[in-house]
């Protein structure tokens, strides 16, 4: 187990280095950042000074080395656009994105689990069929459209919920801002969280349903019933647990997606998170912000994958290598 985790850690570091390389080379090919930062009439000497200050004149390999070392210390340089450290910019917006993603993840999983189990167990009921049809909407309609529909219905027509922003935020010790402690903040997060979570919700629900159908057909479920175990024990103890391995895999990746691809939801709802910062930085060719975002998101996926792999071990005893006793 420890050896396995160490091995995965080594792989993760390799993955991060490759991502760092990609992020770094963005600097080289996406135009001259100096042109973006200064006016047309800036003298050449001043441009050169700025170039020197930003470290753009060093050889490539040294710059990459610096980039990696700095990145490891969460140091991504100055934003071209905002003229302030990228890390500060990202950290400032991190709570908004994390809160949005977590709330939508909780909503998605809390609804997907019972819905998936229900539609798997009672697949012939009309309610199951209705849920499945509805879930197709969640899968096929693009996020921005759902967001706009929500805004139209709940903000414009009904006027129940705000259509943009985060509402009032409270700053917690440690600098984390949260909107979850104020009424307006809670109201503001409902629509974006639903919009963002809908795809995840429907996908996980359908996955759990498909897995349940598969597992319910297996011999060990038949045998569990033949032993007279209660429905609850069979359905939840035996069947649901066996659906977990594939569900964990997909869930881990979807969790990453929720954070990484909050971009669209954030721009629809004017949510002051990292996604919007990223979109702005693309428009302004703000390379340090772009590469920092790239590195951060990849780091997130790498961590999630590691957690997923460790969870496999917790759930499935067949993966635990120690104590092979078979073959008599």
């Amino acid at each position: 187990m420890v050896a396995f985790i160490l091995r995965r850690l080594a792989q993760s570091i390799l993955v991060m280095l490759v991502v760092g390389l990609v992020a770094f080379f963005m600097f080289q090919f996406l135009g001259d950042p100096v042109n973006q930062m200064v006016g047309v009439d800036t003298p050449i000497a001043e441009r050169e000074a700025l170039r020197e200050r930003l470290g753009l004149n060093d050889p490539l390999i040294i710059r990459f080395g610096k980039f990696v070392v700095n990145a490891a210390q969460l140091e991504f340089g100055l934003s071209y656009q905002h003229k302030s450290p990228v890390t500060d910019l990202l950290l400032e917006r991190l709570p908004a994105t994390i809160e949005l993603s977590m709330v939508s993840a909780v909503i998605a999983f809390a609804l997907a689990l019972p819905a998936g189990v229900y539609t798997g167990l009672y697949r012939n009921r009309w309610s199951s069929k209705a849920m499945l049809t509805l879930s197709l909407v969640g899968i096929s309609v693009p996020t921005f459209l759902i967001g706009i529909l929500f805004i139209y219905l709940f903000a414009v027509v009904l006027g129940w919920l705000p259509s943009f922003g985060r509402g009032d935020v409270v700053t917690l010790p440690g600098g984390w801002t949260t909107g979850l402690l104020t009424t307006s903040g809670l109201k503001a997060i409902i629509l974006p969280a639903l919009t963002l979570g809908l795809f995840t919700l429907t996908l996980i629900m359908r996955l759990i349903r498909a897995e349940m159908l598969e597992v319910l057909r297996t011999d060990y479920i038949k045998f569990a019933r033949a032993r007279g175990l209660t429905n609850r024990a069979v359905n939840f103890g035996h069947a649901l647990k066996n659906t977990l391995v594939p569900v964990i895999t997909v869930t881990g990746l979807l969790l990453g997606n929720l954070i990484a691809f909050a971009i669209i939801t954030e721009s629809v709802f004017q949510w002051p998170g990292m996604g919007r910062l990223f979109l702005q930085s693309i428009q302004e060719v703000d390379l340090p912000v772009m590469s920092a975002y790239l590195v951060m998101i990849s780091f997130l996926f790498v961590v999630l994958n590691l957690v997923v792999d460790i969870l496999y071990y917790v759930v499935d005893p067949r993966l635990r290598v120690e104590g092979h006793g078979g073959g008599h």
Partner: protein, 326 residues
Amino acid sequence: MSKHLLEVKNLRIEFPTRKGLLTAIDDVSFHIDEGEVLGVVGESGAGKSLTGAAIIGLLEPPGRVAGGEIVMNGRRIDNLGYEEMRKIRGREIGAIFQDPLTSLNPLYTVGRQLTETIMTHTDMTPTKARERAVELLTEVGIPAPEKRVDQYPHQFSGGMRQRVVIALALCVNPKLVVADEPTTALDVSIQAQIIALLKKLCRDHGTAVMLVTHDMGVIAETADRVAVMYAGRIAEIGPVRQVVKQAKHPYTEGLMGSIPVIGHTDEKLRQIEGSMPRLTNIPTGCAFNPRCPKAFDRCFKERPDPIDVDGTEVACWLYDKEAAHV
């Protein structure tokens, strides 16, 4: 009113299909006494497993019991609700399935699966149930049961897993065990061990067994009585010695004739010509008539009902003709 442990009367199982009703089991009647081993043989699709599934109340939909009764210990069980039937399953009627590799939940230890079953049906405390689990593993011949009880199914070999399955089926001493091809998926060398174990345990506990198999050797060695099924009906049912040694139904004769005899190397393997009819087009009269070497007019017109011949019940007109001649 009846003294039989299990009585199946005129059982009919139907499957509604797009083309209409399919009768998979038609008018099947038999009984099992306490402590008795009834072997059920027949070709694949003859309805052996289906009959077993109906008895434990786990017919897979859309299949359903469309007629007849199943009476266990004087109580009719074929019309019970799921929850009532659940309490009978495991407690009064145990079940063993074909494939031990897939019968156990891979995510739980063998001990947990045993204690769970024991505690579902009895008031035992977890500690007591665990002790009982170790006892059961010892009884089914698993070495180092104290250690094995905490292991997962994948740490057991196929034969060992079938022993665990047997322990699970017998863990609260049911009166009857429906064993559906318990050895088919195992190595030939292990089959005999498992059958011997099952036989011994059931004799020790006075458990009756409905042993579904297509292995006549297993039947001859284990069963007290044997039922031969063909196309959803019982062709012949009687004491094992009579059925094996003096088969009466031409189908049983064919079955017995197709067992190769060791030593007769010059002979071709004998087989029954043709194959069992599909359930969608069972011939009128006796279902076996297209393959029967002794078929005559009546076999194509009327369906034979079981007739008692020297203690064996045979569904064949050959014997009715004899009776009529006397």
